[in-house]
Symmetry: none
Subunit: 210 residues, 4 copies
DNA sequence: GATGAATGAGCATTCATTCAT
DNA sequence: AATGAATGAATGCTCATTCAT
């Protein structure tokens, strides 16, 4: 991870590269030690650069954190397959959501830790709080459109209250991520629970008897 | 929630009282500023006592935190009405769980913040991690017994896989608490989502068609 | 100047003592190295105490500087013999002023350095600027009363414009202090100049021909 | 006084121009924030050039400061009309000195701030101290020659001790500049005091009765 | 001439903790 | 039970300076 410690002046990276590298490291540190354990110096050391060099790229610890937040959001949106080849039905879309969650949990479990850290930070840091709100808003919109589509397609029942349904869904998604990352550690158990909830939600939304 | 507000009212408390007061203050601080923002000196100041006096009661910052953790667990178990007048059916018990959650969210929203902080801490601090595990274990047992009871009573369907069902339930409970505290802020919205999920779970567990 | 470096916990001084000692040291440092060269750590080291202990007594570098300013003003007022046994005539009072200046220059030359540093700081730091203004105001009042007394006593001529006379006097006093401390370094030369200006002022104020 | 304000107008200047501009900026910074507040980077930014480019022109912060000092001396000598059309009498020359002072105070008040900063610096920085001494020496010579001329011309009295007279004069000049810049802020007041001191000095030097 | 990236040394400040009283 | 004074080990941040391009 370090480059060539011998030379006094390290191989210069182009600014953008460096910034991305540093943000990446910072995110790892947060996932490992939490925001509480994020030390500016540690990030610099990990990157194999000097304390002050880090300041050259991020004038503030806060700026570095902002970088992490930005990257995190990009990462999250990437997976939540917005532009994917359009799935035909709302049901398929819904299933895709659960699948995306399962994949993300498998491939980037650290992401969820950082997300949780961020949520807590958002309570105090208004800048982060705002971004959280924005993300939740986008998420709601996306899920709302799926449900409305389902109703229009006649797959979901008419009696669904879209708002509540979306809130429930989000709560459930968050719960899965939260519990999977911070609670039970057995992988299979989590996958089973995801499947369980997915079926449960599906049945609830499609239930004809209402 | 604070007692000695203004901090000039130093009627000598008996040791136990003091300790409880101090833990209470610490918990408030954590809820307000996070573990990251918990300062030993701040707790002392808030309590109107000297820096060193706090050390007389808690030999370590860690000890103070342990106190908070203990109090938190007591608080959580208190509400999850173990010893209440025995509800007749498993269904009633299940409904009670959701009701307890709603009540706790209403009366002690701060609790959920601290719980989340604790979960994150539990990832790094083994002592806390162990307590988390223990709490989750108790919770699982409790929910398992409810579901088994329901099956035995013929209210819940036979095909339920108890383990997965419990994991799902816990994930959903956590998700509700997590989202309610750190996400959407409108009370009504949350209540509606809880009701929605409760009905959904109920239908899923009781669904005869399986 | 240091006490007993061996022991881990130094002999505790009572707070007031310590504070005075620390302010005194800080003032010396300023006189020697200027405000620019005032390092919190250096003061602590000179006092033989730990970095953090200095912070126990002064929560801020600024607070320490405020202490220096306060001490400085006390020192200046001390010498500007307000409460001395009342001198009979205005002329005697005036001569006393020059004499005080000469004495102060002899006994506490560092004072003038610090005063000059303060004047410059006062341009930027409003807190110090205000104290400077206040000091100049008191000084003006004092000199005004002397001159008015002289006129009333018939020693000084009537045509004196008190305001201008006082401004001139203060400028001359400051000039002497300033030049003596930061310019020519031969003691005799300065004394001669003080005497010269004193006579010159005296003649100007008493000149009958106007 | 600034040139490239906004800093986007980087028409390549010839070397000397650039240097002068940079020194000028540095002097402004010193006048505004003091030596203490002089930052190499800030000067570069103000000039709209890069950090490292400033180092191309001045290899050291000290070098930049030397530039400021040099410019300052040039500025001071410029006004003290050495080569002007020769005034006839010593009295006229003396009056010219006061007039020059008044003009300089009016047109370049910042100069006096920087001069004071320099004087303080001269106490610690030998290079600057030497230049200060040299300047004072030239000044003494100039004033001495005036006084001697006056005596020869029979305008000033014989009993004058030239050395003391010069020291007094310099102290008074410095005092006026110092007080005008760092003390009283009303312009009229200062002008009156200058006039007052000028008349007083004149009378003292010409007084026949000795 | 000019620039972006990098560096080391230092500085004010914080915080958990200790100890004598 | 309580307190004032003291401490060491960080931590975020600044600044003059350097170097390859």
């Amino acid at each position: 991870m370090k480059t060539d410690l011998g030379a006094r002046y390290k191989a210069k990276r182009c600014g953008t590269d460096r910034r991305e590298q540093l943000v990446s490291i910072a995110m790892n540190v947060i996932a490992t030690k939490g925001f509480e354990g994020l030390r500016f110096q540690a990030v610099a050391k990990e990157a194999g650069i000097n304390n002050a060099t880090l300041y050259y790229h991020f004038q503030t610890k806060e700026a570095l954190i902002q970088g992490v937040v930005a990257k995190l959001f990009a990462e999250l949106r990437k997976t939540r397959g917005f532009p994917k080849d359009k799935p035909a039905t709302a049901l398929q879309e819904l299933r895709l959501e659960f699948q995306d969650l399962r994949d993300l949990l498998r491939t980037q479990p650290k992401l969820f830790i950082v997300v949780t850290e961020l949520s807590l930070r958002g309570l105090r840091d208004p800048a982060i709080g705002a971004m959280e709100k924005r993300r939740d808003g986008l998420w709601r919109d996306h899920l709302s459109s799926i449900i409305r589509l389902g109703i229009k397609q006649g797959v979901f029942r008419r009696s669904i209250h879209v708002g509540s349904a979306v809130t429930s869904l989000i709560a459930q998604f968050k719960g899965i991520g939260y519990h999977a990352t911070l609670g039970a550690r057995k992988r299979g158990e989590v996958d089973a629970a995801i499947a369980e909830i997915a079926r449960q939600v599906e049945r609830w939304l499609t239930c004809k008897s209402d």
